[in-house]
């Protein structure tokens, strides 16, 4: 028992599973009790959330989840393509300014950008994607530049001793040598896109998606549905996160990040 409270103490997998399970059970117990004793019912009860979930499912929750995930995937694909291009060119002195500027643009507020995007793009869905792309590219570029900067000098020297010219050094050490890091960076930045989902999907309600559903439920103060949706969004995010970790470890056996 003393072990449970000792810092840096190693526990078995079973013991850890029991502890984690107990925490989740405690959370649900607390939720149940609060729902029973609270008179204001500001936070929905377990029953209300369950009802909200069933209602959402009957109204096509799966389709909305698919819409949101598809939107995210398209945005990630485009932004990683842009960010990789900018980051991989960052070792070139002439282009360093470009990559640094894109990285700094992450401090730019989104509100002004959406106005100009609306002027340029006709399709609402395309606009949602590009808002996410612009937002995510700045963060991805920052992380990718950081990844390149963290590569030890020894790795560059090693490639040079093997008669690699500077472009081969870029290819072998940075591009091929750090492919697994790119997946990890996508995983870390995915949370930002997922967080942005509600904002972006509320731009165009006709396209549906989890963001639209949560906005709609919020308008009618349906707290049971809101919490149910938040749990669905959390579960989807965790699932994608898990899938990315698994993909990395399966595809890149050497990856020990």
């Amino acid at each position: 028992m003393k072990k449970l409270f000792t810092p840096f103490e190693k526990l078995s997998t079973t013991q850890l599973a029991i502890i984690n399970g107990s925490w989740v059970a405690l959370l649900f117990l607390f939720w149940y009790i609060v729902g029973k004793v609270s008179e204001t019912h500001l936070f929905p009860t377990l029953g209300q959330v369950w009802d909200g979930f069933i209602g959402l499912y009957n109204e096509g929750l799966v389709v909305h989840v698919f819409n949101s995930v598809w939107l995210c995937l398209r945005a990630i694909f485009i932004s990683i393509f842009i960010s990789l291009f900018i980051a991989y060119l960052s070792p070139i002195p002439l282009l360093q300014f470009l990559s640094k500027t894109v990285s700094k643009l992450r401090y730019l507020p989104l509100t002004g950008i959406t106005f100009y995007l609306a002027m340029m793009i006709n399709s609402g869905r395309t606009m949602q994607i590009w808002v996410l792309v612009i937002f995510m590219s700045t963060y991805l570029t920052t992380s990718l530049i950081g990844m390149i900067k963290d590569i030890p000098q020894e790795e560059f020297d090693h490639a040079r001793t093997l008669k690699c010219n500077r472009w081969e050094v870029l290819l072998e050490v940075v591009i091929l040598g750090r492919v697994d890091y790119v997946l990890e960076i996508i995983r870390q930045n995915l949370a930002i896109v997922w967080m942005m989902l509600v904002t972006v999907e509320s731009i165009l309600v006709a396209s549906g998606g989890l963001g639209f559903l949560i906005k709609n439920s919020d308008k009618f103060m349906n707290h049971g549905r809101i919490v149910a949706l938040q749990l669905v969004i959390l579960a989807c995010g965790l699932l994608i996160d898990f899938a990315l970790v698994k993909t990395r470890t399966i595809l890149f056996r050497y990856s020990k990040i």
Binding site: P152, T161, L162, K163, C164, G177, D180
Partner: protein, 275 residues
């Protein structure tokens, strides 16, 4: 021990390196000749010793062409021209370099690493395959050929790094503290690998640094002590060669370690402490 000096294999003249205006090494001059022993192939084994921060790693980077010297030059034998006395300025890739961490491509298996190191060699695919197989067998790496660097032990990584550099570069190999952090077994393995390199070709030259002076005296036939020189009673703050010991001339090279070697260890340590 009968031996003769032939052509120059390494010529370092007035070498200085400065970073951001601070001189790290200065006025480094030395020359190493091809040593030929009758009846056996003997390459050169050169040790660079000195206290920490005296510029050993900077000297190595200059010797391997990884940095451009502020002044001076490093010349190595140009074996491509057929003339024994032909020399050329060192460029990156001419001299193999194994750093203290035995850096390898993290995303390549041992086999892929060797294939990559041989990519510029004018050999057929079958010849390359055969060569890789020979080295994998003789260096005890056959069963690990499909493993990545993160799956190898320190000794296996080091052997891989050495073979990779043998495949890629010519006759020269620089090793920065190859014995640091190794256990007794791995030290023996590295000593064996030195012997394997130098016994393959007369021009093969191994240059290494170490803090273990006994090992330097045991393995090297030429030892350079790098340290801060004292000029006009004032100790300077840049590294240079403060002592050179030619074990061949002293009759101590290629022989059993004895009391004479121990005496030399004491002398070298004294020179290091004073610089």
């Amino acid at each position: 021990m009968q031996y003769t000096f032939h052509n120059t294999v390494l010529y370092v003249e007035n070498l200085s390196v400065a970073y951001d205006g601070r001189t790290v090494i200065k006025n480094i001059n030395f020359e190493e000749k091809n040593v030929v022993r009758e009846g056996r192939t003997t390459g050169q084994t050169i040790a660079i010793v000195g206290r920490s921060g005296r510029g050993k790693s900077t000297l190595f980077k200059a010797l391997t062409g990884l940095i451009t010297p502020t002044t001076g030059s490093v010349l190595i034998a140009d074996t491509t021209r057929g003339d024994l006395n032909a020399a050329k300025a060192v460029r990156e890739g001419d001299v193999g370099f194994v750093d203290q961490k035995y850096t390898l491509f993290r995303n390549k298996t041992i086999y892929q690493t060797f294939e990559f190191a041989l990519r510029h060699k004018n050999m057929s695919k079958a010849e390359k395959k055969e060569l890789i197989k020979t080295y994998l067998d003789s260096w005890g790496l056959e069963q690990f050929k499909d493993q990545y660097p993160c799956e190898l032990s320190g000794g296996q990584r080091q052997r891989t790094a050495i073979i990779e550099q043998i495949f890629s570069s010519g006759h020269y190999m620089v090793l920065d503290e190859p014995f640091s952090g190794l256990d007794v077994g791995n030290i023996e393995s590295v000593k064996k690998s030195f012997n394997m390199i130098t016994s393959q070709h007369d021009l093969n030259t191994v240059i290494f640094s170490t803090h273990d002076i006994e090992l330097a005296v045991e393995l090297a036939d030429s030892i350079y002590v790098i340290g801060y020189p004292t000029l006009n009673g004032k100790k300077e703050d840049y590294g240079t060669i403060v002592k050179h010991v030619d074990l061949k001339k002293m009759g101590l090279a290629w022989s059993q370690f004895d009391t004479q070697h121990l005496q030399l260890v004491k002398e070298i340590k004294e020179a290091m402490l004073q610089s």
